[in-house]
Amino acid sequence: MIINYIKIAFRNIARNKGYTFINVAGLSVGLTVCFLIILFVRAELSVDRFHENSERIYRIVSIPEESGFIRISPMMPPLLGPLLAAELPEIQQYVRFYHANDVLIRTEESTDAAGSKQFYEDKFVFVDSTFFDVFSFTLVRGDIAHVLNQPFSVIFTESKARKYFGDEDPIGKTIRYGDGYVFRITGIVEDCPELSTLQFNFLASLLTLNTIQPQGVDLSSWEVFSYPTFLLLYPGATLTAVEEKAIEVIRKHFPRPSLAAPNFQLEPLKEIYLFSEAERHTVTAGSIRYIFIFTTIAILILLIACINYINLATARASRRTLEIGVRKLVGANRSQLLWQFIGESVILSIIAYFFAIALVELTSNGFSNIVQRTVGIDFRNDFPMLLILFLFTIATGVGAGSYPALLLARFKPVDVLKKIYGTGPKGAGLRKGLVVFQFAVSGILILSTVVIQNQLDFIRQKNLGLEKEGVVVLPVKQANPVRQHAEVFKHRLSEIPYIERVSIASTVPTQSTSRFRLHRTEKDDYIHYSVFGIDENFIDIFEIELVKGTPFTEDNRRTAALINETTAKSLNWDDPVGRTVQSPLRKIGERTVVGVIADFHFQSLHEMIEPVIMFDVNDLWTRYIAVKIHLTDVEAVLTSIKTVWDEFAPDYPFEYFFLDDAFDRFYRAEDRFAEMFNFFSFLAIFISCLGLLGLATYVAERRTKEIGIRKVLGASITGIIALIVKDFLKLVIIAVVISTPVGYYIMNRWLEDFAYRIEIGLWIFALTFMIVLIIAIATVSFQTVRAAIANPVESLRYE
């Protein structure tokens, strides 16, 4: 029985190669997209699951009060972890982290002929010795019990060990860290799995920080929020109970209890990757939203492919009435016919399955790049997934084939005998509805693509309140002699031709800033502000507007401070000039505000502009040299700068970046997203057009006789084309009308993510409409023109 069906299915396929191709192509593409998304979602959902204790690990985050501009933050004071562990019996263990980036690592002894190696490294993470009790990272060498017990001990990952020591055994060797601190290597750990929010290159003992004081910040204060802290709870502990107790404990110990301590919450480890709204500096970030969006898109695309199948199958059903009638006459009942036809669509989808798997193989690299997650099929080990995808395919085949099968199975043999070919007009209503649906979806995707592109362009060109062109920034890292001799360095650079200005600063726009609290006397609370350490040239280099008062000069800088408009507003200072602010470093004391600068964007346009206070960089720390250059012969200028740099810091590699590039990098995620969207839109439209092509071909075939007669009666070719195209056009217009409000709503939601955004103008809708229209007409006209040109004699011959 089944063999009979299979034989017929294949013979059917062979006879209708064109339509089969359209169906298989559409289904393959739809399945490929679904498979990629399924693999992607599976990866995203399994982040951090590899830890044995994953169910019981939580991260402490602070929730801002309304008055502040800070967001939810995982940064905690160092005293918090041990305090909570001591006072709450539910806590089994705690681990604190301190992340150091841009540190210079140097090996001590020479390794054969190469001499000692040195590199700037990121993700040098200090952790408590409880680290391996809580997290399941694999220690390859070293004794778990002792590996982080001593200060100045460090664990290398396998790749870093290979990088610095090749095949030699690093255990017991020493390295120099930054300014000259010596660490001993006590262990080697496996490289971080990709599916982990915690990423590190080096693990060092947290005890070390008692000696090393990062950036001169006071370690014993409750004001220092720099330590992500994780808690391991005992089984059976209730989250809310622990949270409440913890908040009580904190309030008890937090100094100045009259001032409200921020609220705290415990984030489960499993939810950090997808759901956490906390700052993303210290963990890799994903988003449940992207999963949701991509899944929706995948379903839509598959739906479009299935609709193609349904449309084509029902449209061409009339060809099979004879066979169906005969089968019924020789005794087939409805369910037997049903199974036959569903079987045919299942066979088609199985064929599509193999193409889809091949396509996934081909595209998985590109796709992985775009979504920043390794996605692919491991043929040797992932058989269950292949099986799941196969079952998914079968389900798709059954789903798509059901309606046409039901329709076909219902044919009455007597209609066949009377030569009534029923389904031409019958079912046409549904077919039209489906075409409208397909093009509505395509319309929405096109609209979204246009809007996204526009928003990204807008961001790139928006007035940032500063000038980002022609500014080169030199990061000056730890221990670099340029720090000590900054003024001289600055003077030397100023002498280079085509250099307009040089500034020494603690931070520049786009780079991370340190945040501090400022007491607000009237409300008796705090606002948080970002601190900039600057010199007299800073404002001019970035062309930041001075709104009130006077700028920094050589004379006033020792005692002066600048604030931005947002700060003035938050503090409710109508006339800030002359008022005083407390320097973040208490030992320095107060400074007098001499001027107010206009707000400028120093972060991505996702963020609202925050309060900024600027002090003399000499009171803070030098981390950047900003250079305003003339854009003629940039190469030569850079070379000259390098020459000076090499004089001052021969041991330090010359690194620089352009400010506009740094701004662009903020939107990399969006750029990727836009790429993805363009890709999906293209696919959806491609499949829809395939379907439309199939339908147009079919319609042209059916109306061949009619067209022949009309031509004989005197119709022109253009008249005939217009006749057929008109029907399709109606559908497309309806589709566009539907897609407009839906697309508008969706895009508005996406734009909400940006503090600064475009308005969706009428022209965008008009453009979308035009694009969809042109595509539809182009698709339909090919077949239509061919039919219209045909010789009527030919078409009327087979009467």
Partner: protein
Amino acid sequence: MTGVIMIKLANIFKWYSNKFVRTYVLRDVNLEINEGEFVTIMGPSGAGKSTLLHIIGMLDEHSDGEYHFLDEPVHKLTEKHRSELHKNHIGFVFQSYHLIDDLTVYENLETPLLYKKIKSSERKALVADTLDRFGIVAKKDLFPNQLSGGQQQLVGVARAVITTPKLILADEPTGNLNTKQGEETMEMFKKLHEEGTTIVQVTHSERNAVYSDRVINLLDGRIE
């Protein structure tokens, strides 16, 4: 002839409604056919012969009246029951053969057996037998469009007969055949009739009518 009434039509009417107009195709047809009879239905074009045959074969529904097949009231049967009757009791032969183009002769013959869920070995035997009986063994792997009209009709008859139905309904079975092929087909019917099969045929041809036991004349939807 056994005297068992196989087909009993009482006051059968058939009409088509188009908005407000009723077009009558059959008016007050009363007919009884016994098992084992060979009946011919004749009449001019448009008299309603094919419609009557379709109603007898349960392919179409009468608009009024009663129809009993082997004592069962047909209008009360479910679709499932009806297809059972088709499978087991009735074979159809048409003017335009109506073979499945995608299947070979062998497979066309096999199809009704598949729907009856007959086992593979039995199927093989039955098909081989039938091919032999009709003299078309050499053609078994050919497709219908590779056969001549007469050969296709033979296959059509063979397919109708392979399940040994009690009743064969034939609508202008020789309409597309030449004289010789027509004769061969009618001889085959005669043989089947002698073996006890009830046959009802619709035809224009006087020559074909001769083979039957009795002739029913239809004019404007009524039996004359």
